[in-house]
Amino acid sequence: MSSHAYGNNGPSSRGVVTAEPVVAVTSLTKRFGAFVAVDDLTFALEAGTVTGFLGPNGAGKTTTLRVLLGLAEPTAGRALVFGRPYQELEQPARLAGAVLESNDFHPGRSGRDHLRVLALAADIPPSRVDEVLDLVGLVAPAARQVKTYSLGMRQRLGLAAALLGEPELLVLDEPANGLDPAGVHWLRTFLRSFADGGGTVLVASHALAEVAQTVDRVLIIDGGRLVASTSLEELAGRGQTLEDAYLQLTTEAAS
C-alpha cells in the first residue's frame, strides 16, 4: 500500500463545523418479527473521533449500521447522519462512506470498473477512481476481475469505494479482516490521520487488541442494548484493559 497519499485525503479542508453530532442514534429499535435485534439504542458520534463498535456476534452491530445507512428502516426511534436520515442526504457519498461486507463485488467486474460504476452514480469525477486506487494500493491489480482478489485486496477495494466521495464519516464493519500486518498498520495510520483531519470513524470489530490501538472511544452493545460508552482513557484510569471491560460487560449482560 502506498503510505504517502493518505495525508491529502482527510476531510480537513472541508471541515463542517457544527454543534450537531455527526451521527445521532436516538432510542433506536429494530425488530424482526418477535426478535429484537436493536433495543432502544442511543449514542452520538462527535467529529474527529474514531469509535469502536463492539459486541458479541448477534449483538445488533450490523443491524444498527444498516439502519444508520438507510438499508433498513427502524422499527422505532431514529438514526441521523449529519442531522438527517441517510436516505434524505442529497449527495451521501460526499458525506459518508461505508464498508459493510467484505465481498460486495461482482466477481467478473474489475476493481477499477467497480469504482467507476459507483463514481458515475455519485457524480464523482473518474480521476478520483485512480486516486483512491493509489491510496489503498490497488493500482496494479485494478484491471483484474475481482474474483482473482484476495480477501485483503477486497477489503482495500471496499475501502477505496467508501473513500470515493472524500467523505467526512467512515462506517466500517470488520475492516481489518483479511489484511496482512502491513495492511493493518496502514489502516490504523489512515484512520488516525482521517480523524485528526476532522473526520469521524465508526468501526465495528471483534479484534479488541487492534481496536485498542486505533480508537478513542468504544461503544459496547449486547442483546441490542448499549452496555458501555466510554473512552479508552477512562478505562485506563480505572486500571482496566479493553478486553477486561468487554468480557465483564458482555458476559454480565448475557447471564
Binding site: 444498516r66 438507510g70 438499508l71 436516505q87 461482482h106 474489475s110 467507476r116 459507483l118 457524480d123
Partner: protein, 246 residues
Amino acid sequence: MRAQLRSEFAKLRSTRTILGLSAAMLGLVLLVTLLHAFSLSTTDLASRSGQVRVLVEGGELVGALFAGLLGAMSLTGEFRHGTIRPTFLVTPRRGRVIAAKTVASTLTGFVLGLMATALAAAAGTLALAARGVTVQLDSGNYVVLLVGGAAAASLWAVIGLGLGAIVRNQVAAIVGLCVWLLFIENLLVDSLPGVSRYAPGVLGRAITGQQTGTLHTPALAALLLVLYAAAAAAAGWPAITRRDVD
C-alpha cells in the same frame, strides 16, 4: 437520474454477462428457426402465416425470454453479489436506481429483441429459400417482425425487472421466467386459447404480426403488453423502495 443511468450502462458494459446472454440468445434463435424451417412440411411453409411462424417463434419468443432474463438479472444479480449495498449507499433514494434500471433494461431489451428477430428473419428466409419455398412475406411483414420483436423484448425486460424486484433471488427469477414463457403459456395456448390471447408471452408474439387464430392485432397487443410492463414495474417499485436490504 442521469448519473444512475450512466452507472447502469457502465455496470452492463463492465461484465461479460451481456455478451454471454447475447451469444446464448443468438445461438438459440438460430437453432429454433432452422428446426422450424426444416421440420415443417413444404405445404405448411408455403403459406404466409406458416412463414411468419418460422420467423416469429425463433426470433420474438427467444428475444423476449432473454430480455426478460436481462431485466431480472439487473436486480437479482446485485442482490446475489451484494453490490446492491454499495449501489444503495451511493444512491439511497432507491426510486432513482429503479428508474435508471427500467430505462437501461428497456433500451437493452430493445436491442436484444432487434438482434433476435433480425437473425431469425435472415436465417428463416434463407432456410425457406433453401427448401425451395417461395417467400410470401413483403417488406411490411419484416418491419412489423423486427419492430414488434424489439418492442416486445423491451417490454419483457421491464416485466423481468419487476419480477426480479419482487423475488430478489436470481435462480427463482430465471426459472420462473423460463417456466412461464416456455411451459405454462404453451399449456394455456393448447387448453385455454381464449385466455391465452391475453397472456404476456402470447401478446409478444401478436405484436410481431402473427395473425393466426385468436391473436390480437399488433397495436392492441402492444397496448396490453405495456399494461403488463407497467403493472410489473408498479409491483416491483415498493418491493425495492420499502423492503430492507440485508
